[in-house]
Symmetry: D2
Subunit: 325 residues, 4 copies
């Protein structure tokens, strides 16, 4: 079986990571790639490490009216451009939107694959969660579902490697010398990931995510997301760990650990690591979630979703271990 | 005037940074250095960049009974060893303990120099704050003093470069390949810096710091501390900024900024940067504080305290700008 | 078919990388792991990202007299310890020594798999090249074989990420704060990799590698090796590129590029990139070779050699693309 | 005494570093700053760490016809723009051109201050050496002057941190995610620094620098330059070290070390470290030179030159120790 796959947004880091995973997927065959800044060049010129079978693939200018025959499309486009770009893709083509434009939009399933795989299986339109939500919601889901924590007044302090900020291009905020050896908070009080997190918290728990606080930080490393989440609840550490082990029993990609998770445990993989530290006397539960922002935070989860959409085992093509050190 | 200075703990990063600052201080003259792992070697062998006047200084084995004549001593010793090591230092020798053993111990002033300089002036025994408290308390002090925030239920999410974890030596947790490109939380629910932060919060505000939460994280960079602090309060961002500008008016080392602070703004200096983002409707004030963990988090603050103790302008020898990029 | 595989030296970075590749190899089954510092612990405790099938594997203390039934063994031991440790392994067990002790020892094939695959096919004892030789010899082989350069007076200026220096442990030379943002040369005039490079140069060319100079440098990154090699020869750039394309035609892992190679093109893979820049008027050919020191510089090449030894296609289990960015 | 100083090119890393040094210089007073991208903004907005005395300085658009009264000007402009920009500066204003346009141009002294200070003293037009030449020539000068090495066929393999490549802006080659954890050679066979190195070699030795080879590399760190230089000569290591100690006797900024130099020994300072490893039997001398590319590779050396031009001790304002770790 060969599933004909396209990627639009191949020049971005998410598109490139999708390409890496698809290239060694046993059933996905990359037959189409489109990107803004690189249209006209060979894939082998953009990515010197692609196998021979892909080096001659020419990167196209995106035009939904002139697509080749595709079964599946990954879209990794700048925020705000995805809705229009994908609107005219034939309905028979399955789409995973790695960007944010279709999250919680009618007709699109929210692709939190380790939590709601049944909602994704067989679907044709899936919106991939953002990288921060992937880390945060994976850690919180068990506690919310079993009501070990309150859904309100959750404080998420999140940290990301700089590839999570996109292919900066002319933005010298991400120039190497400016960004190296530097840590900073950004997007205070108003980050774009908050609505999807609030909605998902509500879906998982039934209650309201009122008072949700989210503060992202840029960290001087390429990949990795860690969310340190402060919640109200009278659970013990053991109860939280047990709830998570139970919730994710049989799920291939979520690891529950007693030690606090490190971002490098996930690098290069589709794994998520979650852990908890609670102090019932203080009505405090600290939840921690780690993903690779390009893995389960983007392309890894996208391929997992695509596997579910195509009726394949969700681990197909995703069994690579994290790259460590 | 020449003030005869010694450093014990010269092998640690804090001791080395103190040496750097003292070497270009107009009045401090380094005449004595002691360190465990390096006793017997020349300072010039340990630190290839020291000026000619210091290359031949031999590093001694610490022995308080055989000290040369000193006016001032900086102690940068491993936690738990400082009390005994310093107990027999002659009372005429001024001591700044950069380590934690004498914080809030009777007879020792707590060296938060930008907040309580008058308590340090002329004192002979000063306990330098820890690096996390330096960043956290500098940001919180104006809000606590003017009661713009509640002293209770403060959540401190702190991030530090790896030199803040000490000269690891045999601890392969800080081996380069393990630590590079990696971020992790540690010391959850029980970090050693909590008592001094809780006490200082109480001193600044009068109220109780009950419910204080503190979570440190190791960040893959050499220097820098950022504390992102979630507080309860109905102040506006403008009120917080004004309170801070007023509180620190005339203080040379604290900068109040509208933009979120970046750790690299402080690197190599004794500066602290603070900022605020508030949402009164949600009873939320986010305070942010940045220092160089070896600067205002250790040696920089120690030299500032020493200046005050010696009756010098507090900026003496500390006017170097941050090293950027 | 299942080939029963063991790894001795699982605690080192090379052993860990071998484990990563074996875990997703279609035919290799890891049934035995031994390591010094970690004997007694579960593999899942040492490597949080291993799949469920491997988490319970207990790491043994190495004892060649009590091995389980193995078909294949990867040895990644400290220099000088391998000969004795492997001497009593049953002859029927195929061994790839990733360390240096058996290079150019009688009875062991030198595992430069992209150059002499036929010498490795079906062999039972293979000595993996060192990481610097892997990068250097892969770049030089075409020029030496077609005599485009002289074999003598070659100057190799090599650069490696710090995981190439081994799991430093107590060696604070590789402590994060000391090593970060730092570059230095080491092992001048006498590096242990020189004999195998000199011998291989002689084998490839027939002439003598007299006057070989090799200078390694430590670079502040985790993975990656680049060798910049200055040779004498009157070839043009085009002739060198053509010779390399011809020499490596059909070889899956060596990429010949016109642009100078970047170490990150190879990271996480078994690829090698080579390029050339020549100035015939000056009798100068600059050859450049890049590998991931843990990939083709160690475990990747070891798995490739093992594939050849076992009669498998050499690319089996090695088709993962480089992890970029 | 107050010397009125201006900087044109304040937005570049070299201009910013010059500003840092001038701000704590006892006699230099920054009264004028001009920069392309930042004209109209306050210095305190561009550089959050500047002292109060400088925060309100407005960055001007460069116009040599409307300069305030200046005694000294540092120019740190993009290559190729300096000659025209500086042509109409009044002759009474001393100029140090940190960029490359005036090196070895008639009427301009070549500012290799540790080698030819007398040629700079009292001069009004000084061209600062490039960062690679600073490291390379400082290491080679003693050997060339005492003819311990041949001036011909010198091979320079140089490595630089990324701030040495300028403030990349729109050049995504220096985007963080692309550049981090990556090493690459560039500018092979034709780098712009070669003419000044060849000329200087000739001046130091009398012979010809024919056959000079120079290969720079980008290293994933912010600051630091190391040149590893392969020369022909029958000297011993001891002879080279002695020649260098003698050549630089009394020079404040050059340190001769037996151990190979590390770039971080110089970071944040105007120091240069040189060392040697020779093998007389093979007619090989390896010279090594380290500087901070923004220190002695640019602004540090510029301030040292300015001190000489103004008749001040050359160490004025340059006694800060390297910032380590």
């Amino acid at each position: 079986m060969s599933i004909r796959v396209g990627i639009v947004g191949i020049s971005g880091f998410g598109g490139g990571e999708a390409m890496r995973l698809i290239a060694s997927h046993p059933f996905f065959e990359l037959v189409y790639a489109a990107g803004d800044g690189s249209a006209g060049s060979r894939l082998g010129d953009r990515f010197p490490g692609v196998p021979a079978k892909l080096t001659e693939l020419v990167i196209e200018q995106w035009d939904p009216m002139t697509l080749p025959r595709l079964d599946l499309l990954f879209a990794s486009l700048p925020t705000g451009t995805s809705a229009e770009a994908l609107a005219r893709v034939p309905g028979a083509v399955k789409i995973v939107d790695v960007g944010g434009d279709h999250r919680y939009v009618e007709g699109w399933a929210y692709g939190l694959a380790d939590v709601w795989p049944s909602q994704i299986e067989g679907h044709t339109r899936v919106a991939n969660p953002g990288c921060f939500p992937a880390a945060t919601l994976t850690a919180l889901a068990p506690l919310l579902a079993s009501k070990l924590i309150e859904p309100g007044n959750i404080v998420v302090d999140a940290k990301t490697g700089i590839s999570g900020a996109g292919r900066g291009g002319a933005d010298s905020r991400f120039g190497y010398a400016e960004s190296n050896e530097n840590l900073l908070p950004y997007g205070l009080l108003k980050h774009v990931h908050m609505p999807e997190m609030a909605k998902t918290i509500g879906r998982l728990n039934g209650g309201s995510a009122a008072g949700l606080v989210f503060t992202p930080h840029l960290v001087p490393m390429t990949r990795g997301v860690l969310a340190t989440i402060y919640c109200r609840g009278r659970a013990t550490t053991g109860q939280c760990l047990d709830a998570a082990r139970h919730f994710y029993a049989g799920r291939a990609f979520v690891r529950v650990t007693e030690k606090p998770p490190q971002t490098k445990w996930a690098t290069g993989s589709n794994l998520a690591f979650v852990s908890y530290a609670a102090d019932p006397e203080r009505n405090l539960v600290i939840a921690m979630g780690v993903v690779d922002n390009l893995g389960k935070g983007a392309a890894g989860q996208a391929v997992q979703n695509a596997n579910l959409m195509c009726g394949l085992p969700e681990t197909t093509g995703l069994d690579g271990l994290p790259v460590w050190p």
